[in-house]
């Protein structure tokens, strides 16, 4: 580690060292994903899934 300095970015995971601890996040990866699937212009949602959502094997 000492040769390369402080660890900041590794495999898409960003590591921020703060005064009181370490903050680990993947915001760059998330942004890239949204761009990849062309969803960076979409409307935001408050929850990742609808409570009554049921996925089925066949099309309904």
């Amino acid at each position: 580690m000492s040769m390369m300095g402080e660890l900041k970015f590794f495999l898409g995971i960003r590591i921020n060292e703060l005064k009181y601890g370490v903050y680990v996040h993947q915001s760059k990866y998330t942004k890239e994903l949204l761009k990849k699937f062309k969803l960076d212009e979409c409307k935001e949602m408050n929850t990742p899934m609808h409570p009554t959502c049921t996925l089925t094997k066949e099309d309904t």
């Binding site: 996040h25 994903l33 969803l39 899934m49 996925l55």
Partner: protein, 131 residues
């Protein structure tokens, strides 16, 4: 489309359940699943900067939390259990898993999820013994 958010669960336990549910249908995806898939991305868009915070502390108390949903899987009628483990106040491990056997009652489902949670805790305890 689901493989990539699967990697994101490394720092986002909040999307773990929905991503795992979608991943089960990945081998045979249908057009009707697409709305559910894109909803995860729409949620991600609003919460891009979320991550995990590991605070400095000398608190080394293990806490394990678990929950389950009886017969939540509509196709195979299996229950789904979830658990997470804290070391002090920092989240170190989490899981959301469909139980491998069919529980006949809610009690049985409730027994399975703490057992998997305890298994993980015991393993971690064993690992930490070396330090």
């Amino acid at each position: 489309m689901i493989g990539s958010p699967l990697y994101l669960t490394a720092s986002r336990p909040d999307i773990l359940f929905s991503v795992c549910l979608c991943a089960r249908f990945q081998s045979n995806p249908r057009e009707s699943h697409l709305t559910t898939f894109t909803r995860i991305f729409r949620y991600l868009k609003g919460t891009i900067n979320l991550g995990l915070l590991y605070k400095k502390s000398l608190d080394y108390k293990f806490v394990g939390l678990c929950d389950d949903d009886y017969a939540d899987d509509r196709i195979e009628r299996k229950s789904i259990s979830g658990n997470c483990q804290f070391l002090g106040e920092n989240l170190i491990s989490w899981a959301s898993k469909r139980q491998s056997i069919i529980a006949l009652s809610t009690t049985k489902a409730k027994y399975i999820s703490p057992s998997s949670c305890c298994t993980r805790l015991l393993w971690m305890k064993h690992q930490l013994k070396d330090y």
